[in-house]
């Protein structure tokens, strides 16, 4: 294994072991053990070849302190028209800052029931997923019965708030929808560092269920965000997911979708804006296990300064999964000579009669579009901002829930290079 030992992070190891002992949880003990075996990944590990984790590995991490939410930080994060908000600080539920729980939403913890977690997630080789299991304090379970729907989006906010020491935190979100049930969940990951957060979301959809999920990453620039999303879908279910990155230092998302029942559909979208030396890393795997499933992946990055993005995505088509229709798209817009992007699409197909396509492009702002706008009197910096927005909006416009779409569009707009040249009217589509 190409790893650096995790034992150099003594305070963290001690804390994790204490948690494991306290919880008597088999899973936590196993995760703890696995964590020691895996250690911190290095660049020589293929799954982390684009991440620079030296600084992370050299940091003496502690588990985040118990504290409450900073109200000013929270105010800026609210979604218009959504009352349901569950707030977590350093991985622990903050009841005062949260709204009452709607029907179908339960809190997990402080010591998670081990039958609830890692039912879908199976990232045995991933240090950060193991760290998530080993250190989980609280969680949210969104459970909707057959033919029921939670109509309002459920907004889960996680704030990282270290005191003096660099700290880690995690939160487990479990979405479990019965037959033809519906729910919409938005996670906002915010707060300052130095922090290492390991978000973990598990989605289990019964036949015909429909889930909208969004993860908005808007940390301060000294936060390592090493997250995962795992989903498992029965026949004719739909999973719509989007990860938007507008903050953080290194943001890695591991997303595995398993289409287990005939006619299931998964859409995985991503949009990220770079800044300074930010690195955005997305590793996707969509497994078509049953016939006639469809999947759509579109990941786009807008990269200024020295920012970088990597997209590694595999479409796996199982034997017998005929009628598979999978599309994978990766697009990067480089706004400086020092920004970089890597795209690595992979297909693994064991069935006939399948349609799998992938496309990857990396380029600069289109000079033709720029000239067209300028020739109509639009100043160059405004024209560039408009074209950057045009690039972003494709992903945003595909978000199927209007209130969520507006919220995400506004957050993106606020961080868009040159956004001061635009006004909110641009979000009209």
């Amino acid at each position: 294994m190409c790893t650096q030992t995790i034992d150099n992070a003594f305070p963290l190891c001690d804390a994790i072991e204490a948690l494991a002992l306290q919880s008597m949880s088999e899973q936590r003990h196993a995760a703890c053990k696995r964590l020691h075996e895996l250690g911190w990944p290095t660049k020589r590990n293929e799954a982390f070849r684009y991440c620079t984790l030296k600084e992370l590995a050299e940091t003496k991490w502690k588990i985040g302190p118990v504290t409450t939410a900073d109200q000013t930080a929270l105010n800026g994060l609210a979604i218009d028209g959504t009352d349901v908000r569950l707030v977590f600080v350093n991985g622990r539920f903050d009841a005062t800052a949260s709204s009452p729980l709607p029907d179908g939403v339960r809190l997990l913890g402080p010591m998670l029931n081990e039958t609830e977690i890692d039912r879908v997630a199976n990232f045995t080789d991933d240090t950060f997923a193991q760290l998530a299991t080993a250190t989980t304090e609280d969680g949210v379970l969104v459970e909707v019965a057959d033919n029921q729907a939670i109509s309002e989006p459920i907004h889960i906010v996680h704030l990282s708030a270290p005191e003096s020491d660099p700290s880690t935190s995690t939160l487990r979100v479990i979405i479990r929808l019965g037959e033809n049930a519906r729910a919409c969940v938005l996670e906002t990951w915010a707060g300052n560092g130095p922090c290492l957060v390991t978000p973990m979301t598990e989605v289990e959809l019964a036949e015909g269920a429909h889930c909208n999920h969004a993860r908005l990453v808007e940390h301060g620039d000294d936060v390592w965000h090493m997250g995962a999303i795992a989903s498992k879908q029965a026949a004719r279910s739909t999973f719509e997911s989007v990860v938007l990155t507008i903050g953080g230092k290194t943001i890695r998302t591991l997303a595995h979708a398993s289409l287990d029942g005939e006619g299931a559909h998964a859409a995985m979208r991503g949009f990220g804006i770079g800044d300074d030396h930010r690195h955005i890393d997305s590793r996707l795997r969509v497994a078509h296990m049953a016939p006639n499933c469809t999947s759509r992946e579109i990941f786009k990055h807008l990269l200024p300064d020295h920012s970088t993005a990597a997209f590694t995505a595999r479409i796996y088509v199982n034997e017998g999964a005929h009628g598979t229709d999978a599309v994978q798209t990766s697009r990067n817009l480089l706004l400086s000579d020092t920004a970089k992007a890597w795209s690595c699409p992979q297909l693994e197909i064991y069935a006939d009669d399948v349609k799998c396509t992938h496309g990857a492009t990396t380029g600069e702002i289109d000079p033709g579009g720029l000239f067209y706008l300028r020739a109509r009197g639009v100043p160059e910096d405004t024209a560039r901002a408009l074209l950057a927005w045009a690039f972003a909006s494709e992903v945003i416009n595909e978000v199927p829930v209007p209130s969520l779409r507006t919220h995400l569009a506004r957050r993106i707009l606020a961080q868009l290079p040159g956004a001061e040249k635009l006004d909110e009217g641009v979000v009209s589509l």
């Binding site: 289109d366 000079p367 033709g368 579009g369 000239f371 067209y372 706008l373 300028r374 020739a375 109509r376 009197g377 639009v378 100043p379 160059e380 405004t382 024209a383 408009l386 074209l387 927005w389 045009a390 690039f391 972003a392 909006s393 494709e394 416009n397 009217g425 641009v426 009209s428 589509l429």
Partner: protein, 254 residues
């Protein structure tokens, strides 16, 4: 003072000279047409006047109302009154035509010392000008040129021209890809905008468009130079005889 005055213009792209000493003067209120075979430099001329920087101007001058355009950015030229209707209007997904146009109108108004148009004033103007080219205003909620038919794109160009109220309008093969009905509508939209102050430069391959937008002066552009200038009857002669006879005459004269 002339509206547009181009003197001895030489321009090249990637080291290849396209314009080789072009002279052209347009007075306020006039409609000029430039005709010429493929590759003679018609579109290059249009794009150089509008300020596309892929071309390098090696010699000569372009003046608009006595001001030199060559030192200006494209947006400054537009603000000064140049409008280029593109042969191939560019699609910009994710930006509504209305938002783009409001940005453009207000940039130009600011340059002219006018207040920004408010939402009401802007929509009123949109409604009035869209009617000139029979453009459905609902189309303007769509992204710029995205999903527009060929005819809609060209009508949208003429509509934008009406919104921006330029003094010097350049139409680069606006007739290409249009059927007869669309051609008639586009021409009517242009004619609506003719005025004693405004000049037009209509670039086309075919006389057909000039039957609707009747020019005062017709030029033939050949190998980067204007080789013949006449009245509207020159266009008819070209339609009948092609460019071959002029090419021969020019060759003999040289």
């Amino acid at each position: 003072m002339s509206l547009l005055e181009i003197k001895n213009l030489h321009a090249s792209i990637e080291g290849i000279e396209i314009l080789k000493g072009l002279n052209l003067t347009i007075e306020p209120g006039q409609v000029h047409s430039i005709m010429g075979p493929n590759g003679s430099g018609k579109s290059t001329l249009a794009r150089i006047i509008a300020g596309e920087d892929v071309y390098s101007v090696t010699k000569g001058s372009i003046l608009l109302n006595g001001k030199s355009l060559l030192d200006m950015d494209p947006e400054e030229r537009a603000q000064e009154g140049i409008f280029l209707a593109f042969q191939y209007p560019v699609e910009i997904p994710g930006v509504s035509t209305k938002y783009f146009l409001r940005t453009a109108v207000n940039s130009i108004r600011a340059h002219r010392g006018l207040d920004e148009l408010d939402a009401y004033g802007f929509l009123k103007l949109v409604k009035e000008k869209a009617a000139w080219v029979e453009l459905d205003p609902a189309l303007l909620d769509r992204p710029v040129n995205e999903g527009f038919s060929g005819g809609e794109k060209k009508r949208a160009e003429i509509f934008q021209m009406a919104m921006l109220e330029p003094t010097m309008c350049i139409l680069d093969e606006t007739d290409s890809g249009l059927d007869i009905d669309a051609l008639r509508i586009v021409a009517a939209g242009v004619n609506q905008q003719r005025s004693p102050e405004r000049g037009f430069l209509v670039i086309t391959h075919y006389q057909r468009l000039l039957g609707y937008i009747v020019p005062d002066v017709v030029h033939v552009l050949l190998d980067g130079r204007i080789v013949r200038t006449g009245g509207k009857e020159l266009a008819l002669e070209l339609e009948e005889k092609g460019y071959g006879w002029i090419e021969k005459e020019v060759a003999v004269g040289a």
